[in-house]
């Protein structure tokens, strides 16, 4: 076809190589794509990651178990609580440490608040990526309240260092519980408002419906996890299927993609799963506030924490899916090896495949719909 155009018009046509990034605002952190395009159609988009590699895994070999918890915060700064929890779970299982019951409830409350905050960022920036500025401001306004609550719970707004081995650092006091309850009552109608503002918007839907469809088989082969996996119609959630903490006692739905407006597994399905997960998190929070027993928030854990030699692979359901901490102990005070397996890393590896043949503008929608987070990819 190109040759025909060339001979007719005397125009030169050739494939272009464009470097997108490393700091394009839509790339959700510092990452880069080398894109080969034919006009506006992408031939291939090769991700170039590693800009935020801080060798968190190597640091794990040099600090004690207790001392490593703040580092886990930095793996994914939008959802630090989950990395805290996954690492602590691995350490606890290695050493056979009990977590107090109130501690477990504090963990779930903090995590679900964090999940809402993280999904708000995700859906808010997603709207912004494809040109809807207003929803972003609405999302960030709500997230601000969650940050305030987090500050009340643990003193930090982003990198919490809240979940400790054996429980949590500070108890959630009744006043804060009341505030969380009030926030949920306020937030649930906001989700509906957000849907009226963004999810039902015709332009938004047309930009996403049927774009970058991930089949079930591809989701397995590329090991997509979390909302990206569920967007392809796989009803699987670690909280429900490999239960941990007090999740078995809580009632919640696992939302999956349902080809709401386009094809099963398209960008809109992944987005829609996140919206509904925020509503489920509200349900979980409400139950936790009701069920939370009295008692200590943390069990007695020795300062010199030396789990016996062994290895543990603890997985939690983070906002970006299955987050796994593979911790190997040689019986000393320091972990022998800490491996962090994250959802964004595997989601990033599928982009090259999905981007073939789509428009350049849709690449941005694709990255947004997978909710990749650069620090979590690079660790």
């Amino acid at each position: 076809m190109d040759e025909a155009i060339e001979s007719q018009s005397g125009l030169n046509t050739e494939d272009m190589t464009i470097s997108v990034g490393p700091q394009h605002p839509s790339t959700h952190g510092v990452l880069r794509f080398v894109v080969k395009t034919d006009g506006e159609v992408i031939g291939e988009a090769i991700p170039d990651v590693g800009y935020l590699h801080r060798s968190i895994e190597k640091i794990g070999e040099k600090v004690t178990y207790h001392g490593y918890v703040p580092y886990t915060d930095r793996a994914d700064y939008l959802a630090a609580m989950f990395a805290n929890q996954a690492f602590c779970m691995a350490a606890e299982r290695l050493a056979g440490t009990e977590v107090t019951r109130r501690g477990e409830f504090c963990r779930v409350i903090a995590c679900e608040l964090n999940r809402i905050a993280s999904h708000l960022i995700s859906v808010g920036t997603f709207g912004q990526d494809i040109g809807a500025m207003t929803p972003f401001v609405h999302a960030l306004r709500e997230r601000e309240t969650i940050n305030n609550l987090m500050e009340e719970i643990c003193g930090a707004r982003l990198t919490y260092n809240y979940i400790r081995i054996g429980g949590v650092g500070y108890d959630i006091v009744p006043e804060t519980c009341a505030k969380i309850g009030a926030f949920i009552d306020h937030f649930e109608p906001i989700v509906d408002e957000f849907n009226r503002l963004l999810s039902g918007n015709k332009i938004f839907i047309e930009r996403l419906a049927g774009v970058a469809v991930v089949s079930r088989e591809d989701a397995f082969s590329y090991n997509l996890v979390g909302p990206n996996l569920r967007g392809s119609g796989v009803k699987w959630d670690i909280r429900r299927d490999i239960p941990y903490s007090v999740y078995p006692e809580l009632e919640f739905e696992v939302p999956v993609g349902n080809a709401h407006v386009g094809k099963l597994g398209d960008s809109f399905d992944r987005y829609w799963v996140r919206i509904r997960e925020m509503q489920e998190s509200c349900k979980i929070l409400r139950q936790c506030l009701k069920m939370m027993p009295k008692g200590p928030a943390i069990s007695k854990v020795p300062r010199k924490f030396r789990p016996p030699a062994g290895e543990c692979y603890a997985r939690v359901e983070a906002p970006r899916g299955d987050m796994g901490f593979y911790v190997v102990s040689d019986g000393s005070e320091y972990p022998y090896r800490v491996r962090i397996r994250t959802g964004s890393y595997t989601a990033m590896s599928i982009i090259d495949k999905l981007s073939k043949g789509i428009m350049l503008a849709d690449l941005i929608a694709l990255i947004g719909s997978l909710d990749v987070d650069a620090p979590e990819i690079d660790r």
Binding site: V49, G50, H53, S55, E57, K58, R93, L94, D218, F220, S221, Y222, N223, V234, W236, D241, I242, G310, E311, C312, Y313, R315, D322, G324, Y326, V328, Y336, R337, R339, R341, Y345, T346, M348, S349, I350, K353, D378
Partner: protein, 168 residues
């Protein structure tokens, strides 16, 4: 399926090539001969009743005292909610193993990371480049005896302690 049944199935199919089954570990694991890894993975993925649809994680451990690098595969099945951990011992001075990219696509990136940080060569890999570090970086940081190069591309990687400089 229990880990011991998975191990039994593997032992029947690959006699002499799997072993060291550790049933009392938190996540039971077994050792696989490096030469058999692709067939073992394919068997685990495709056999009815096993159905390991996903490679949940692939990483490595460095054991300088035993002179080996261990590549660790965490497999998981959504269909049966069971998992198995495979380990392959490789010589530390020449760690080479076949890629499992043909079984699960995600192995491409996992293996690139292990190559980058441990220096394990995955034979048959379609795109074995460094992923976290620059192409011309020297050494494999997650090895236990790794020493950082003093400068990279004319930039020092060391930082002189400020207070000592002030006191001087």
């Amino acid at each position: 399926m229990h880990a011991k049944d998975i191990y039994a199935a593997l032992e029947r199919q690959f006699p002499g090539q799997v072993g060291n089954f550790k049933a009392d570990a938190l996540e039971p694991y077994l050792t696989v001969e490096g030469s058999a890894i692709v067939e073992v993975c394919r068997f685990l993925r495709d056999s009815a009743g096993l159905d390991f649809q996903i490679l949940s994680d692939l990483t490595a451990l460095d054991w300088p005292k035993e002179e080996k690098i261990q590549v660790v595969y965490h497999l998981f099945s959504y269909a049966h909610n069971h998992q198995v951990v495979l380990k392959v011992d490789l010589p530390r001075d020449n760690p080479k193993i076949a890629t499992v990219e043909g079984v699960w696509k995600v192995a491409n990136w996992f293996e690139r990371e292990v190559y980058d940080l441990f220096g394990v060569i995955f034979e048959g890999h379609s795109d074995l480049r460094r992923i976290m570090l620059p192409e011309d970086w020297i050494g494999y940081p997650l090895r236990k005896d790794y020493v950082e190069q003093e400068e990279y591309d004319g930039i020092s990687t060391q930082r002189a302690p400020l207070v000592e400089k002030l006191l001087r």
